[in-house]
Structures are given as structure tokens and as C-alpha cells.
């Protein structure tokens, strides 16, 4: 399975859980639907932690993992990224191409406020 699919499956597990999970718990939850090595789950969680998508906390000899951002926050982050791209007058290439061009700074501020409320 591709790394992207694995990361998504693991994130879905963490997002769906109300409490931080250990590697063993994530592995046990994924096992029935896809045969996975325990170490693979560990690697994936490690990668996600490095990317800042999950946070680890130590509990005795095990680590527990929980999402650094909720789904909603992540969606808001994406929109903020898209927004920054549409307002930036700098020397960068706009990474994205927007349907309705540039966004004024006033409007961007209003949108940011709305997204912050949500996130």
C-alpha cells in the first residue's frame, strides 16, 4: 500500500478516536481490513509526527498519539494557504490558480477571522 494511503488510514483512526492511541491500538484497529506489520504503523506514525500532523505523548513505556489538528482545522489551514497565495504580492510564483483572481487584503482579513472562529 502506498504511504499516502497508510497515512490517511492512520489519520482517520486518530481522528475517529476520542482519546490518544498507542501504536498497538492503531495497529489493532487497522489489522482486520488490511494486513499490516506493527512496525509499519510505527513508521507511519513517526512520519506523521515529523510532519507535525500528530503529537506524541509519553505514557509509561509507550507513546500515545493524537491528531495535532482536527479535520476542520486542517481544512481551514488549507483554505488559509490558498488565501495567502491569492493575496501575496511578493516575488513568489502563486502556487495555486484561483477562479476569481486576487483577494483584497480587507476581504482576506474578514475570511481569516471567519476561519479562525471555526478552527
Amino acid at each position: 500500500m502506498a504511504m499516502g494511503d497508510l497515512e490517511r488510514a492512520v489519520m482517520a483512526q486518530l481522528w475517529g478516536s476520542s482519546t490518544p492511541r498507542t501504536v498497538r491500538e492503531v495497529h489493532a484497529a487497522l489489522e482486520p481490513t488490511r494486513p499490516l506489520a506493527y512496525t509499519t504503523v510505527m513508521t507511519v506514525l513517526d512520519r506523521l509526527a515529523k510532519k507535525g500532523l500528530v503529537t506524541q505523548e509519553r505514557e509509561g513505556r509507550a507513546y500515545r498519539y493524537f491528531p495535532a489538528r482536527t479535520r476542520e482545522q486542517l481544512a481551514a489551514d488549507l483554505m488559509l494557504d490558498a488565501l495567502a497565495d491569492a493575496t501575496e504580492p511578493s516575488d513568489r510564483v502563486a502556487a495555486l490558480q484561483h477562479f476569481v483572481g486576487r483577494v483584497s487584503s480587507d476581504e482576506a482579513a474578514a475570511i481569516r477571522a471567519a476561519l479562525d472562529e471555526k478552527a
Partner: protein
């Protein structure tokens, strides 16, 4: 002095031509040719700057040697070296800027795409709908380009209008407008801030939007695209969006007239690149060669 003339030309092309060209409404009828013209102007400006740096030292030397009546080979070699180094710096700077811009853009896109996939899973038609209260629609260019709409966009538009937005973004992705933009930005940023016009990039972006509108119109009715534009630009008050709307709604020049206009624009683009070289660089090259060969 060829060096001074070329430097002046570079400045005119990078600073004075863009505001004029940005006001040229006729380019909106031939956006593809318009983009080519803009690229030609930017490239010609860089070439003129390189030419100026190449010509100036040699000319200084010639002025000096004419006064002294001496033809000193070491001095000639030194001036040639100065010229070559100067030109190399400009070209190298452009190359570094282009690579840096490209890497930075790709990194940001990759990160954005990764987050999209994490949230939504890979979408079979590469269209993602993000949960969110703000109407937004954009594409993430690249070899596996994505179209992204927010739920708010889908809510405010009807189905046909949503399709129109998707087709507009797909037209961007198909034609790789991002590469055009990248090249233009590199040429543009290569100039010192005082010597470049801010309107140039906005004008090229606008023409690319028009091209994407035209691309979408092959697949969806014009009224849907116009409807989507009207709804989504309601709060932005962006003059360029209004211009897109007017262009879709207003009378179009006939096919023949548009062809003629496109041909004229391409010709102008070619002239911008060729004429300065022929008129300034050519004669200087001839004089310089004669000087070196001791003719």
C-alpha cells in the same frame, strides 16, 4: 553608444512598456498571442540588459584606444573578461531565480496536495470539495493537478455553474498555465525592483484567466461560466473579474478579425525580440569584431 542604448532599451521594456501594454484591451480578444507578446517583452528586456553589459566595456576600450591611438591586446582581453563576467552574472542570476522559484512553488504545491489527500483521499476525477464556510475555487497545478472547491462554493452555485468552474480550472491544468506564469515571474523578478513594472504579472495572470475561460467554453455553455463568475466575484469587487464577465457577455470580434489581431500580435512579439538585436547588437558586434581583428 550601443551599451547605453541597450541599457535604456532594457529599462523602457521592463518599466515603461508594461503599463501601456496592460491597458491594451485588444489583447483580451487574443489572450494566447497576448501572453506571447508579454513574454517577448520580458525576454527582450533581459536580452537588452545582457547586451548592454557585453557592449559597454568594449566600447569604453574602443573610445580609450582611439584617443591613444594604441591597440593593446591585454586591455582588450580585460574588457572582454569584464563584459563576459557581467553578462554571466545576469544569466546566472536568472537561472538561480528560476530554479529557486520552481523549487519553492513545487514544495508548497506538494504540501497542499498532501494535505488534500490526507483529508479527502485521492479523488478519482481529481476534484476535491473542502469543508469550509468561504466560497473558494482554485487548482493546484502539477503533473497530478487538482481542482479544489469549498462546500460554500458548491452551495452558492448551481450544478452547471460548478461544472463551469471545474472546467475553467481544468483548462488551466491541461494547458499548464502555471509553467507560463513561472517563466514570466522568473524573467520579471530577474530585474531589480526599481526597474520592473508591477502591472506586468497581473496583466499576464489576467490573460491566462481569459485563456482558461476560453478553454472551458469548449465544454460548457457560456451562460454557466458567466453565472459562476457573477456569483463568485460578488464580494471581491475585482476589476479584472468584471472584465472577464464583460468579455463573455459582450459582442465578440469576428473569427477573421480575431485571426488578424492574433497575427499582428505575434508579429509584434517577434519584432520586439528581433528588431533591437538587428538594430543595436548587430552593428556593435560588427564593429567589435572589426576592432578585435584589427581591421
Amino acid at each position: 553608444m550601443t551599451g547605453i542604448a541597450l541599457a535604456a532599451l532594457a529599462l523602457v521594456l521592463s518599466r515603461m512598456v508594461p503599463p501601456v501594454l496592460a491597458r491594451a484591451r485588444w489583447l483580451e480578444h487574443v489572450p494566447r498571442a497576448g501572453v506571447v507578446l508579454w513574454q517577448a517583452v520580458a525576454l527582450a528586456a533581459v536580452l537588452a540588459a545582457v547586451g548592454a553589459v557585453l557592449a559597454a566595456p568594449e566600447e569604453l576600450f574602443r573610445a580609450y584606444s582611439a584617443r591613444d591611438g594604441a591597440r593593446v591586446v591585454p586591455v582588450l582581453l580585460a574588457t572582454a573578461t569584464v563584459a563576459a563576467v557581467g553578462a554571466a552574472i545576469i544569466v546566472l542570476r536568472l537561472a538561480i531565480i528560476a530554479v529557486r522559484l520552481g523549487l519553492d512553488t513545487r514544495r508548497r504545491r506538494a504540501r497542499h496536495t498532501e494535505m488534500l489527500d490526507l483529508l479527502e483521499g485521492p479523488s478519482p476525477n481529481r476534484v476535491h470539495v473542502l469543508a469550509g464556510p468561504i466560497p473558494m475555487a482554485y487548482c493546484v497545478p502539477g503533473h497530478s493537478g487538482r481542482v479544489v472547491l469549498t462546500e460554500a462554493t458548491v452551495d452558492v452555485l448551481d450544478d452547471a455553474q460548478v461544472q463551469a468552474v471545474i472546467e475553467h480550472e481544468r483548462a488551466h491544468l491541461r494547458a499548464r498555465h502555471d509553467l507560463v506564469r513561472e517563466a514570466f515571474t522568473a524573467l520579471h523578478v530577474a530585474f531589480p525592483r526599481v526597474a520592473r513594472s508591477q502591472v506586468a504579472r497581473a496583466a499576464v495572470d489576467h490573460l491566462l484567466e481569459l485563456l482558461a475561460d476560453d478553454g472551458a467554453l469548449h465544454r460548457i455553455p457560456e451562460a454557466d461560466l458567466r453565472g459562476a463568475l457573477a456569483v463568485l466575484s460578488r464580494n471581491t469587487g475585482e476589476p479584472r473579474t468584471a472584465a472577464r464577465f464583460r468579455r463573455l457577455a459582450g459582442p465578440q470580434p469576428s473569427q477573421g478579425r480575431r485571426r488578424l489581431l492574433a497575427a499582428a500580435t505575434y508579429l509584434l512579439a517577434a519584432a520586439v525580440l528581433v528588431v533591437p538585436t538587428a538594430a543595436l547588437a548587430g552593428p556593435w558586434l560588427a564593429r567589435a569584431t572589426t576592432a578585435v581583428l584589427g581591421g
